[in-house]
């Protein structure tokens, strides 16, 4: 097959406009990590299963290993690097993961955080069951999920102006 030309893409990433020439086959995850040096989104399975590569695109969650960068032309992408509050303090979810021990090795965490952000924007006060269903596309090998669920409940409480009360076991 002959040489394929690169084509221009322009998108907003974490509030910043970026423009690059890419090969059409460039996956969004590789574009973010290698072109933009945003290594927060991780490559776990590369087969659309684990969710470690999850980013937010125009308000929805996407596995960036299963999307070409050219498909994001004109879109607004948020990665975990863009999650903290504008004043530099941690987002309620980041605080929740820290307070509730929502991570161990941390490999799945950027994807979990970005998925949870969209989940809470669609459903600000989810039940435990809704949280588990909502993060079903994100795998964690370490925590057993319990503390991830609590971390998201913590963030939901905080964003709703409540203090998180752990349910009695």
């Amino acid at each position: 097959m002959s040489e394929i030309d690169t084509i221009p893409v322009s998108l907003t990433v974490n509030g910043r406009k970026v423009q690059r020439f890419v090969e059409p086959r460039t996956l969004l995850i590789h574009f973010l990590r290698e072109e933009l040096n945003l290594t927060g989104a991780h490559i776990g399975c590369e087969t659309s299963h684990c969710g470690a590569c999850t980013v937010e695109i125009d308000g929805a969650s996407v596995k960036s290993c299963t999307m070409f960068a050219v498909q994001a032309n004109g879109a607004s992408v948020t990665t975990v690097e863009g999650l903290a509050n504008a004043d530099g303090t941690l987002h309620a979810l980041q605080e929740g993961f820290r307070q509730m021990h929502g991570l161990q090795c941390g490999f799945c965490t950027p994807g979990m955080l970005m998925r949870a952000k969209v989940l809470l924007s669609e459903n600000p006060d989810p039940t435990e069951e809704e949280i588990r269903f909502g993060i079903a596309g994100n795998l964690c090998r370490c925590t057993g999920y319990q503390n991830i669920v609590k971390a998201i409940q913590y963030a939901a409480a905080k964003l709703n102006g409540r203090t998180y009360q752990e349910a009695a076991e």
Binding site: R25, S48, V62, F68, A136
Partner: protein, 290 residues
């Protein structure tokens, strides 16, 4: 895992898309959500040299109410099916089924058109479309034609879609208000294709079944419309013996493969179980108006 190289096209109209497919012949493929095609391209099981992305064709992303028919554009995503108030009111089985496909991220991208055009027997929407008696609208160089979902599938990855054609919309006749429905899917975990699944839509006249349609997912090389099983339950009160007979009739047309999900024997058995559960749930919903 990086797909092979290709030229990317993003047409703004169906006519332009069909023209691009015609110009590039066998080397070109329509591209929608990419959640079946990109994984196959990563494995080099597919290596198209031209991708025609349908995402720029805004006409294809709409859901239209035409009274007795609902018309869903090919690029309407699974997430959009779940969000639609129109579908929740008139065709709630779409939401029930879409929620059992993959996970939230995949549903953001995966489209109805891609799901039904793909031809993978594991896809959930094709059997549902057969159950509902839906029609696919196909656009090609010689204009547009319609094919019934029940006639569309020939074998795994072989459908009546001709090279150069794209599926533009799915036309679904709306079942009467108060109909009962259920999509029952057995899977090992979220994100898994069905071990076996069954779609049921029925109506009751008093306590008697007035009409019924049953279809099956992933228990043969194509989705299966279970005609005999559907016919068996009409005119009955859906008593235990009828449910069992319908499940047996549905099992009889299956031809599942032995795979990681279980032996052929087990999967055939589970097809019967899914049919029985879906029938009971659908009748229950029709009775209680839930």
């Amino acid at each position: 895992m990086i797909p092979g190289p290709f030229v990317y096209h993003r047409p703004a109209s169906v006519g332009e898309a069909v023209g691009l497919l015609a110009a590039h012949g066998e080397d070109a493929r329509p591209f929608a959500g990419g959640h079946s095609l990109i994984p196959m391209m990563k494995l080099r099981m597919a290596a198209p040299s031209h991708l025609v992305d349908l995402a720029g064709i805004s006409d294809l992303a709409t859901i239209r109410d035409e009274g007795s028919t609902v018309v869903i554009g090919a690029t309407v995503t699974q997430a959009a099916l779940i969000r639609s108030d129109l579908l929740a009111a008139r065709l709630p089985i779409l939401r029930e089924t879409a929620l059992q496909i993959a996970d939230p991220q995949i549903r953001t991208k995966g489209t109805l058109g891609g799901n039904v055009a793909n031809g993978d027997p594991g896809n959930d929407m094709p059997a549902l479309m057969q159950c509902l008696g839906a029609t696919y609208v196909l656009a090609g160089p010689d204009g547009s034609r319609e094919v019934a979902a029940r006639d569309f599938y020939e074998a795994a990855y072989f459908t009546l879609l001709q090279p150069g054609e794209i599926l533009t919309a799915v036309r679904i006749p709306v079942p009467p208000a108060g109909h009962g429905y259920a999509y029952e899917k057995l899977k090992r975990k979220i994100g898994d294709y069905a071990t076996a699944a069954a779609a049921v839509v029925l109506t009751l006249d008093g306590s008697t079944v007035a009409s019924a349609a049953i279809a099956l997912t992933n228990v043969a090389s194509t989705p299966l419309f279970a005609e005999e099983a559907s016919r068996l339950v009409v005119g009955t009160s859906l008593d235990a013996a009828t449910v069992k007979a319908a499940a047996e009739a549905a099992k009889a047309i299956t031809d599942p493969a032995t795979d990681g999900r279980g032996t052929a024997e087990y999967r055939r058995e589970m097809a019967g179980v899914m049919v029985a559960r879906a029938l009971v749930k659908a009748a229950d919903r029709a009775r209680t108006g839930a």
